[in-house]
């Protein structure tokens, strides 16, 4: 199923103010793969993810999603395939109730009412938030917001999922259920996070970024246990691999 493939070829991206945020990015994600992106603040993770469905377009190089090369013309098609969850769920929930928000995408896909309800129901149950359906998003706790944001993307049944720092502000239990949810999502996914333990748990493969470049790419178990590689890149061992010295 080639439509679950993501390929970056020599991608450079420069923000209009001259910041070189991506340089020579080159990788390929095949169907069903789960890839973590890690790196210091400002390394370019969010910028990379924003190329996944054409919010940003490469300054040079090509991004291919499935069989389709990302261009201004194709990006509308591509957005139907790739679901992106942002760092801050507040930015993502713009409709006045949880139901409206989750229904927004499916409605725009042109589905009929019954299927829209079906999809909303489905997506909200996956994240265990069915009882929130009539609440306005600003009355939800941080963790509930994240869950709904994920549901609103899931309701579009994307082939590829991209998430930017999904676990920030979640309590440990919610973080754990997010991990479970991510593990059950069978399609390709790409996750940017500072939570190296989450990456280690969810992603088989890991990409390390630094100053807009990919500096390492390989199995998470290997990369995330390579202390000197991590420290060179302003990271450190996942906490679960650090030995705790008890007081």
């Amino acid at each position: 199923m080639s439509h679950h493939i993501v390929e970056f070829k020599d991608v450079f991206f420069r923000y209009p103010d001259g910041t070189e945020a991506l340089r020579e990015i080159h990788f390929r994600i095949v169907h069903g793969e789960s890839v973590g992106v890690v790196g210091a603040n400002g390394a370019g993770k969010s910028t990379l993810l924003q190329h996944m469905n054409g919010y940003l377009m490469p300054t040079s190089g090509t991004v291919t999603i499935g069989d389709v090369v990302l261009t201004k013309k194709t990006r509308r098609e591509i957005r139907k395939k790739v679901g992106v969850v942002f760092q801050n769920p507040d930015d993502q929930l713009f409709m006045p109730t949880v139901f409206d928000d989750v229904a927004f995408g499916p409605l725009n896909l042109g589905l009929d009412e019954a299927s829209v309800r079906e999809r909303v129901h489905q997506a909200l149950s996956v994240v265990r938030s069915l009882d929130l359906r009539d609440k306005p998003p600003h009355h939800l706790s941080a963790g509930q917001k994240s869950a709904v944001a994920i549901a609103s993307v899931m309701a579009m049944e994307p082939d590829i999922l991209a998430m930017d720092e999904p676990a920030a502000n979640l309590d440990p239990r919610s973080r754990r259920s997010l991990i479970t949810l991510l593990k059950t999502f069978k399609h390709s996914k790409i996750i940017a996070s500072h939570d190296l333990d989450l990456i280690l748990d969810v992603c088989g493969r890991c990409i390390v970024m630094r100053d807009g470049r990919v500096v390492a790419d390989g199995p998470s178990a290997e990369i995330l246990s390579d202390r000197s590689l991590l420290e060179e890149n302003d990271l450190e061992l996942p906490l679960s691999l650090q030995r705790q010295v008890m007081a």
Partner: protein, 269 residues
């Protein structure tokens, strides 16, 4: 201009103002006053004046080069805002067709002169305003305004506006992207969704204002936003002002350009 472009644009202008050149180091008050004098002088030229405006380009060019401001950036921004002035001015050539001058045998109508004059004044005034910000920074301009007698309340909230401009624009940008991501260019860019979207943004903004207020209280806020005096008028500032005044006075009072032309003609023709 698209949202992103506008956003990046003011971000860029803002970054330019944090450079450190001798123009940037001048006292903000000196630059504000000089800019206002410059603007008034340019505007005070009569309707049909074209030639005498030429020397005034020295002012923006000096600020731009000494202040290391990229010229293309300023020109681009000027072009973006030009439509209204052009729209109003472009009627002049059609409405005012009397011949004003004959140049090399070709009669030029007064309307063209006044249109050209509008364009030149536009370029001069707009570039001066942009360069003020690009070489001074918005907070510094605000502090200068405060010390030039603008009401404290106005200036304080102007500073808040500047501070949160970027935060909120980024927020709006992410909301737009979320909407785009799930709307596939269909419907839902209409007015109803728009109103709710703006409403959501508004409510969040009000909540944020509350949190900011708490943060201010926790740091001893008692109704006045205090600031340190950060600059004294120095000799360099006085010199800059004096030079500006002299420059403006000379080129406003004497038709220097034409004199130069006449001398050149006598020498070479």
């Amino acid at each position: 201009m698209t949202f992103d472009e506008r956003y990046f644009d003011i971000g860029r202008l803002d970054r330019l103002s944090y450079k450190d050149t001798c123009v940037h180091r001048l006292d903000p008050r000196a630059k504000v006053i000089a800019t206002v004098m410059f603007l008034f002088t340019v505007i005070s030229f009569p309707k049909y004046e074209v030639v005498a405006l030429a020397p005034f380009f020295l002012f923006p060019v000096l600020l731009m080069t000494v202040g290391e401001i990229p010229i293309l950036f300023i020109v681009k921004k000027m072009i973006i805002v030009s439509p209204f002035a052009i729209f109003i001015g472009i009627f002049n050539p059609f409405l005012d067709t009397r011949t004003a001058v004959v140049i090399a045998g070709i009669p030029v109508s007064a309307g063209w002169l006044s249109f050209l004059s509008i364009l030149l004044k536009f370029a001069l005034t707009i570039s001066a305003a942009l360069l003020l910000i690009a070489t001074t920074s918005f907070p510094a301009v605000c502090h200068a305004l405060r010390r030039l007698g603008f009401p404290a309340l106005f200036v304080s909230q102007l500073l808040f506006l500047y501070r949160y401009l970027f935060v909120l624009m980024e927020e709006a940008m992410r909301i737009i992207r979320a909407r785009e991501m799930r709307s596939f260019g269909r419907r839902s860019t209409g007015m109803k969704v728009f109103a709710r979207l703006i409403g959501t943004l508004f409510l969040r903004t009000v909540d944020r204002a509350d949190r900011i207020y708490y943060a201010m209280l926790s740091r001893g806020f008692q109704g006045d936003v205090p600031t340190l005096k950060r600059s004294r008028i120095a000799a360099a500032d006085l010199a800059f002002m004096a030079a500006t005044v002299a420059f403006l006075a000379v080129f406003r009072s004497f038709r220097v350009t034409e004199e130069i032309g006449r001398i050149a003609q006598e020498l070479f023709l």
